[in-house]
């Protein structure tokens, strides 16, 4: 599989505005829409062009469809702390009617947004002029039926629900249930279940807060509903465990149905073992039989029927294992990388440093490292595989570990649900790549 550059969105200059830092990327269920959230609380939605005016080797382009301010910065007066407006996650709802709905969340508040199109407007009111002024009633001599005439497409985003005040700690995940009625939101210590229609109450379904906060040693890092079983969800922890819960078993899911944990490799033990085992993302496969977890150095694929160890493990950047101390010092070891599946669950993708991202082809046991950079941004330019030299003699075209730029990290990636189109977010740019056709 070869990948080509398709598009890049965002500012070109190297001086990155803080608000423009992309914090989440998500395709909708058809792949027609691609949403990004940023640190400034804005959501930008791109739409794939439906008319394929281009020659066959071009896939349709994504253009800006809607931009809106989802969250504003707030101030918690009781704690004298800012609540950041950064969008942590966006999740699309399956489409039910002409409008599109998505959930977006910052650290404390989840909002349901309706994105609707307006391409007609009424004309010919009896009581109003075209500009809206009311007519003098005495001047009206006959009645007419207003008609809808076409107008330039206008895309409107309006907040339909605000789910607030249910999280003491920072929300890290939201996940829409397959029942299309409920969704969960997870923070560091608790998971809440919401009904999409009801904003003034939520059920707490997981609570790992210890009675004495001093005893806190583990936090929730991610959570997701099973794609088909509406009673099942998983949540991952900072100790590298994943717990699967069944909501039919009890109202409170503190006791897990399954616990997925790989025994630690004693030969690799160090003071950093726990930190690098912390899971930063968990994603079910589309077919619902597997789940993937991302920890600092690897991606693991678990069979939901086997809790003792993952069925596949892929090393993302093993060359960093000897640099963990430096990465701890500069805080990079706490970076939270996400991961994603392709449409048929045959390939998984995740990001790394130096604007590299990695793909692992499961069946063929192949992997590739690619780079998202402006230098490789000519239309349909094929991406050349990159290689990192861990030590010893550096070959031509290889890059040595010490030359990696740890400021350029790819934390967020997304894969089109059906096609081989991927969206890769660098710090403030969104790259869209497609596979090489022909």
């Amino acid at each position: 599989m070869q990948w080509c550059f398709s598009q890049v969105k965002g500012a070109i200059d190297d001086d990155v505005a803080e608000a423009d830092i992309i914090s989440t990327v998500e395709f909708n269920h058809t792949g027609e829409l691609l949403a990004t959230g940023d640190k400034g609380g804005r959501v930008v939605i791109f739409q794939q062009e439906t008319e394929n005016k281009n020659p066959p080797q071009f896939r349709s382009e994504y253009n800006v469809y809607s931009t809106f301010q989802s969250h504003e910065p707030e101030f918690d007066y009781l704690k004298s702390l800012e609540i950041e407006e950064k969008i942590n996650k966006i999740r699309w709802l399956p489409q039910k009617n002409a409008a599109q709905f998505l959930l977006s969340t910052n650290d404390k508040t989840i909002k349901l947004w309706k994105i609707s199109e307006r391409d007609k407007r009424p004309e010919g009111y009896n009581l109003k002029e075209e500009d809206g002024r009311y007519k003098d009633p005495n001047s009206i001599t006959k009645l007419q039926v207003p008609v809808l005439i076409p107008m330039d497409l206008m895309v409107e985003a309006s907040p339909r629900r605000v789910f607030a005040n249910a999280h003491t700690y920072h929300i890290n995940s939201i996940s829409v249930n397959s029942d299309n009625e409920t969704y969960l939101s997870a923070d560091d210590l608790r998971i809440n279940l919401w009904n999409l229609e009801i904003t003034d109450r939520s059920f707490n379904i997981v609570d790992i807060k210890p009675a004495n906060m001093e005893e806190l040693t583990e936090v929730i890092t991610a959570a997701e509903f099973h794609p088909h079983q509406c009673n099942t969800f998983v949540y991952s922890s900072s100790k590298g465990t994943i717990r699967m819960c069944d909501m039919r078993a009890s109202a409170l899911c503190d006791r897990h149905t399954k616990l997925f944990e790989e025994p630690e490799d004693p030969s690799n033990r160090s003071f950093f073992s726990e930190i690098i085992s912390s899971i930063s993302d968990v994603k079910f496969s589309h077919n619902g039989r597997y789940m993937m977890t991302r920890d600092y150095l690897s991606v693991k694929i678990w069979d939901l029927n086997m809790e003792s160890r993952p069925v596949e493990t892929y090393q993302v950047h093993e060359y960093l294992r000897s640099k963990l101390c430096s990465l701890y010092e500069n805080d990079c070891i706490f970076d939270k990388f996400e991961c994603c599946w392709n449409g048929d669950d045959s390939v998984v993708m995740t990001g790394s440093y130096n604007n590299f991202f990695r793909m692992f082809e499961r069946g063929h046991r192949r992997d590739v490292t690619l780079e998202a950079s402006r230098e490789n941004s000519k239309p349909l330019q094929v991406l050349k595989p990159r290689k990192v030299c861990a030590g010893g003699k550096r070959k031509k075209d290889e890059i040595s570990v010490d030359s990696l730029d740890f400021n350029k990290k790819i934390l967020h990636t997304a894969w089109h649900p059906q096609d081989n189109i991927i969206a890769v977010a660098t710090t403030n740019n969104l790259y869209i790549f497609q596979d090489k056709v022909i």
């Binding site: 990155v16 803080e18 009781l78 704690k79 004298s80 702390l81 800012e82 609540i83 950041e84 650290d107 005040n165 249910a166 999280h167 003491t168 700690y169 920072h170 560091d188 210590l189 608790r190 809440n192 003034d200 109450r201 939520s202 059920f203 707490n204 609570d207 807060k209 009675a211 004495n212 906060m213 001093e214 806190l216 040693t217 583990e218 936090v219 890092t221 900072s238 109202a251 409170l252 003071f271 950093f272 726990e274 930190i275 912390s278 000897s322 101390c325 430096s326 701890y328 010092e329 500069n330 805080d331 990079c332 706490f334 030590g391 010490d402 030359s403 990696l404 730029d405 740890f406 400021n407």
Partner: protein, 308 residues
């Protein structure tokens, strides 16, 4: 000679930027001595990270938990091989003697300030507050009220958000303890003691039980209790410059460059605060929880941040 070796070790452990100077510097020297120094450096770094993560935006709980667990692991290992006990002994002897050396510490004996930081923070995690009156700097865990009703506070108490807390009452308890510390005659020692714990001290929550949260289960909105915790910045007491320099005497100043490069953001990075603390006038301690003084000090901090 040993001192310069130690500096070199520090440099290799925490290389500047991302480019190495030479491959030979990568592998640290063999032997138990360098491992113990590495471990100590790691402990110090972790304590700094824990202490300095309380800025204007609520810090990442996951990160703090992971760092605290690392500190605990190091402390456990040090206890196992007896290093911890030796340190505690040296600290006890150092506390009774004259002030810590104003010059550079001998490399094999960790400086008293570092012992204070390590000992106190780690003790808070594992052991209950010792009875007051046993005397000596190392015995007293600051912020541990004497009354049996108030539980001891550890590094995560600041995240006690949702149970009911009464701020004013707690603060005055804290003030009373601070005022009546007869055992600490030297105000500077008291200042150093609070250096580590200042940012963690929170008023003791009144009813620390699982009851209230259990009641919130099921179909009721989880309402946040009136958590009144003014920004803990008012508790940061800038240590004397000499003590601060002593603590970080073998820290390569190029770290600050590394962090200003890597940590892009309006918030100060951990080392920026260190710099601003050592350069700016010491913040006046606020023994009473006066909201106005809190806000004044918050403004003061803001000026520093904006100024730098």
């Amino acid at each position: 000679m040993l001192k310069s070796v130690r500096l070199k070790k520090a440099r290799t452990m925490f290389p500047k930027g991302t480019k190495r100077k030479s491959p030979e510097d990568e592998a640290p020297g063999p032997g138990p001595l360098s491992y113990s120094l590495q471990r100590q450096s790691l402990l110090d770094m972790s304590l700094i990270k824990l202490q300095l993560c309380h800025m204007l935006v609520e810090p990442d709980l996951c990160r703090s938990v992971l760092i605290a667990n690392t500190v605990r692991q190091i402390q456990e290992e040090m206890s196992e091989d007896g290093t911890w006990q030796r340190m505690a002994l040296a600290l006890a002897q150092g506390a009774q003697g004259p002030q810590g050396p104003s010059g550079l510490a001998p490399p094999l004996t960790p400086s008293p300030e570092r012992l204070v930081a390590s000992e106190l923070l780690c003790r808070s995690d594992l052991k209950p507050a010792p009875h007051r009156g046993e005397g000596g700097l190392e015995e007293r865990a600051p912020g541990a009220p004497d009354s049996p009703d108030s539980p001891y506070l550890g590094p995560f108490s600041r995240w006690e958000g949702d149970e009911g807390e009464e701020g004013e009452e707690g603060d005055s308890e804290e003030a009373d303890e601070a005022d009546s510390e007869d055992s600490l005659s030297d105000p500077e020692e008291e200042v150093r003691e609070h250096t580590v714990f200042g940012t963690f001290e929170i008023k003791p929550p009144l009813a620390e039980s699982r009851g209230p949260s259990a009641e919130n289960r099921g179909p009721s909105a989880e309402s946040r209790g009136p958590s009144v915790e003014p920004a803990r910045l008012c508790d940061i007491r800038a240590p004397s410059d000499a003590a601060l320099e002593e603590l970080f005497s073998d820290v390569d100043p190029s770290y600050y460059d590394l962090d200003t490069v890597l940590l892009q953001g309006p918030k100060m990075g951990p080392y920026d605060l260190l710099e601003s603390l050592s350069h700016s006038p010491a913040l006046s301690p606020a023994p009473t929880a006066n909201c106005r003084s809190d806000i004044n000090e918050l403004d003061h901090i803001m000026e520093i941040i904006v100024g730098s």
